[in-house]
């Protein structure tokens, strides 16, 4: 019996419940807070999976920076009140079709993950400390790392140009 499994089952239940809360929420602020809960639970799952660096980055970047940006924009626009989800005019088939396609997507993902490629035996990760991640980032992955820094700079300039008052 895997000792991590009960912890993961509890975390998974909270994670799915908060995702459903995001899907069904009538208020954008509540939806954003459900998403923060989902990201926090994700960070704990990363810790269980022996990825402490990713867990901390998840909390500081996702739950911190990205969701704060979302909450700022929702409050800035005053767009927290959402209309109940309706079919777009003239497309009454859209919602049932979307739910059916979602079921197909889930079925395909489970088929590819579990039927077509049966799980192999698990091995323990030798070293996943932040030091090992950093050595890998600045060693074999140095070029992608520099490309990402340019991408972030371009995104920052783009955001400033788009929201500039003319």
């Amino acid at each position: 019996m895997n000792p991590d499994l009960p912890v993961l089952i509890v975390l998974g239940a909270v994670s799915v419940a908060s995702a459903l809360g995001l899907l069904l929420s009538r208020n954008a602020i509540y939806a954003a807070l459900f998403l923060v809960l989902n990201f926090g639970v994700g960070a704990v799952i990363y810790l269980v999976l022996n990825a402490p660096f990713i867990a901390v980055v998840q909390v500081s970047v996702y739950a911190g920076a990205i969701m704060v940006l979302f909450l700022f924009v929702i409050m800035l626009l005053g767009a927290e009140r959402l209309s109940p989800g309706e079919n777009p005019p003239g497309m009454s088939f859209q919602r049932p079709l979307a739910i059916a396609l979602g079921g197909v997507l889930l079925g395909l993902a489970l088929y590819v993950l579990f039927v077509r490629q049966p799980p192999t035996t698990a091995t323990a990760l030798a070293d996943s400390s932040p030091m090992a991640v950093g050595l890998s980032l600045f060693g074999p992955y140095l070029f992608p790392f520099e490309v990402v820094s340019i991408l972030l700079l371009v995104a920052m300039v783009g955001a400033v140009v788009l929201t500039r008052n003319r």
């Binding site: 990713i54 990205i66 924009v73 989800g85 889930l106 993950l113 698990a122 323990a124 090992a132």
Partner: protein, 100 residues
């Protein structure tokens, strides 16, 4: 069932909920948050498989996905704010015109 199998299962459920959010919700902000949920589900799968095959590369890829998500959120929210200034709405059904 080992941890990796369970997290891969959880990841596919979360990805489906995110895809349903993109298809069912009409607010641009909610659609955007659902995209973040899908990216997070993919990250969970990356870390789960890094755990199984004892490779650090999965965790490095999660780091890059997070950086791209941050860039995407900055530009996307700037677009939503700009559209809201002209259309006074974040409902995607109000954005049906191709002419500005």
């Amino acid at each position: 069932m080992d941890s990796t199998t369970f997290v891969a299962f959880l990841s596919s459920i979360l990805f489906t909920i995110g895809a349903l959010g993109v298809l069912l919700r009409r607010s641009a902000l909610l659609i955007f948050m659902s995209v973040e949920l899908m990216l997070n589900a993919a990250n969970l799968a990356f870390v789960a498989f890094a755990h199984r095959w004892a490779q650090l590369d999965g965790q490095i890829f999660v780091f890059f996905v997070m950086a791209v998500a941050a860039a995407e959120v900055a530009v996307g929210l700037a677009l939503i704010v700009t559209i809201f200034r002209t259309k006074r709405s974040t409902n995607v059904d109000d954005l049906a015109a191709l002419k500005g």
